[in-house]
């Protein structure tokens, strides 16, 4: 709790900046007027129709990806696990490409159901392969990771083939896959994604202590009265809800699920409830900061939030790896 307060303050600052700063320069007073329902009609439209929903979407997406990262790292007992690992991202990617090429969908809102179904299908496929391949039919972490890599490669190849066959699809898809909040307008997308993300966050919080025990290995967690398979299925459900929701909000953002949990772990240690809580808050904050930075860097044009995140995330992740391994043995 003590650690959550500064985190929430940082998030608040990020949210305020995200509402204040944009390609159209508005003074803080104008924004405040617009928020309270008065002032210039155009400013009202910009703030209420674009900036606010965009901020909410970034907040939901960032929190969801960071928490999904914690859950995946806990289940695979691998600090480098991220939402891209278990076939979730690959599944939603292939579904979105199918949406573009086969069903002629062209808007982010139209991708939504496809992204979701794809994420869930990818996750289920990896679980089934993982269960079939592990000795005790319990989808052990090592098998899950291998199944995730294999299924992701396969789905990636399928995506590639579909895109090669249809170059118009490539440009639509490219925008989506980088991850961007720019195309959001109004609350349609957020309204669809929010219930999934919230359900995922609640499930993750209820799942926190199971994650603590899962980290000790299957034998020990069985000894403590947990069912490894049941716990893992709950985890996969949680991740699907979170990643599906996040992908709907902002496309597939790299690094949030990887960098945020690993950085937070340095502060909270390995107990999952504080780790989940602070990761959610800082994941949202990082995504909003990255989005605001993207709006400022090439003003009045914009860099997609996914590009900014990769630019920040890469070096930060290298620093984290060095720092973790330099600890005196």
């Amino acid at each position: 709790m003590r650690r959550l307060v500064p985190g929430v303050l940082v998030l608040a600052v990020a949210a305020v900046l995200s509402v204040l700063i944009g390609s159209r320069t508005l003074s803080p007073a104008t924004v405040l007027d617009a928020l309270t329902g008065g002032g210039d009609a155009e400013a009202v439209a910009v703030v209420l129709e674009y900036r606010l929903p965009r901020t909410v979407a970034g907040l939901l997406g960032g929190a969801a990806l960071a928490v999904a990262g914690v859950v995946m790292q806990g289940h695979t007992r691998n600090r480098l696990a991220d939402p891209g690992l278990l076939g979730v991202s690959a599944g939603s990617a292939v579904a979105v490409v199918l949406a573009i090429t086969v069903f002629g969908v062209a808007t982010p809102a139209g991708f939504l159901p496809f992204a979701f179904t794809g994420a869930a299908a990818g996750c289920v496929l990896v679980t089934v392969v993982g269960m079939a391949a592990s000795r005790r039919r319990d989808a052990s972490p090592a098998t899950l990771v291998l199944a995730g890599a294999a299924v992701s490669a396969l789905l990636g190849a399928a995506t590639g083939v579909l895109l090669l066959l249809d170059s118009a699809a490539l440009s639509t898809y490219r925008f989506w896959t980088v991850g961007s909040l720019a195309a959001l307008r109004g609350y349609d997308t957020v309204a669809v994604a929010a219930p999934f993300v919230l359900a995922g966050l609640i499930l993750a919080a209820g799942h926190a202590r199971a994650l603590d025990v899962v980290g000790l290995g299957d034998d020990v967690s069985r000894g403590l009265g947990r069912h490894p398979l049941r716990t893992r299925l709950t985890g996969l459900c949680t991740v699907t809800l979170l990643v599906g929701g996040a992908v709907a909000c902002c496309g597939s953002l790299a690094f949030v699920g990887l960098v945020v949990p690993n950085a937070v772990r340095l502060v909270t240690g390995g107990t999952h409830l504080p780790l989940l809580g602070l990761s959610a808050v800082l994941g949202a904050a990082l995504t909003l900061f990255a989005d605001v930075t993207g709006r400022l860097l090439v003003h009045p044009a914009e860099l997609p939030v996914g590009v900014v995140l990769s630019l920040i995330g890469g070096p930060v992740f290298i620093a984290l790896v060095i720092r973790t391994n330099r600890r005196p043995a």
Partner: protein, 267 residues
């Protein structure tokens, strides 16, 4: 008191096979309340599988394990975890996990997900740290401890679970002789004071003979001999179980048998 009331754990005609390999082949045995029972046998004899099956880490292909008279598979997992604590062979803690966090996880079966940490939990963890001599190392990461300290941390986790029955798979492996003594003294102390019943797999025959109330000697998935150390640690039994030709003398201090290995017995 009847015999049945004294039996904490009973296996009836247990059989476990991994493909064509039969690891446990029709084992019926009991563990009596407040005893230190030790499984001995050569590598690959099935003693570990027997322990894992008794602790429901492994489902038997045939037969049943009874915990306090109830088939263990029919009991809810959490209820079993409140009665039976289990330490598998060489468990791994996540990087950076502190001793106190590890030991606290032993309280998991006693708390529903909505239940807060209570004074009772705190007490159980403090005591587990104290009896294992880890109080001063409570905030040290487990991966920075020595082998002996690490093993004690895991035992502390099992102790914090506060179960009347403890199943331990080679709790003294990788430990030097002094650390072995420390751990076995600790376990024997728990049994003597009436706080726990212990079933453990041990490799060192002299340690087993010194601390066990009862030995179960296993070979090829079957029980070859059971009884007090004096009854089991004899040259004929050692020859049958380990193919070992050995002399057995008595420890002048406590009269327990001591094995002096000579050579592999001729087949």
């Amino acid at each position: 008191m009847t015999v049945e009331e004294n039996t904490v754990l009973r296996t009836e005609d247990l059989r476990v096979a991994f493909g064509p390999i039969v690891a446990v082949d029709g084992v019926s045995t009991t563990v009596e309340k407040n005893t230190f029972t030790v499984l001995i046998g050569p590598n690959g004899c099935g003693k570990s599988t027997l322990l894992r099956t008794a602790g429901r880490l492994q489902d038997p292909d045939h037969g049943v394990v009874l915990l306090d008279g109830h088939p263990i598979g029919d009991l809810p997992a959490r209820q079993v975890a409140r009665r039976l604590g289990l330490l598998p062979q060489s468990p791994q803690a996540p990087d950076g996990l502190t001793v106190i966090d590890l030991v606290s996880r032993g309280r998991d079966p006693h708390r529903r997900w909505y239940e807060q940490w209570t004074d009772h939990d705190e007490q159980a963890v403090d005591e587990a740290l104290r009896v294992t001599g880890l109080t001063d190392l409570a905030h040290r990461p487990v991966d920075r401890l020595s082998g002996g300290q690490r093993q004690r941390a895991w035992i502390a986790m099992a102790l914090a679970q506060r179960t009347p029955l403890l199943l331990l798979d080679e709790p003294t492996t990788y430990l030097d002789v002094v650390h072995q003594l420390e751990i076995l003294e600790l376990l024997a102390g728990l049994v003597r004071s009436g706080r726990a019943t212990v079933l453990a797999v041990l490799h060192d025959l002299n340690m087993a003979a010194r601390y066990a109330d009862r030995l179960i000697a296993v070979r090829d998935g079957r029980i070859v001999a059971t009884g007090t150390p004096a009854e089991v640690i004899t040259p004929p039994v050692l020859a049958r179980v380990f193919d070992l030709e050995a002399a057995v003398v008595n420890d002048p201090e406590n009269g327990r048998p001591v094995v002096l290995p000579r050579r592999r017995a001729p087949q």
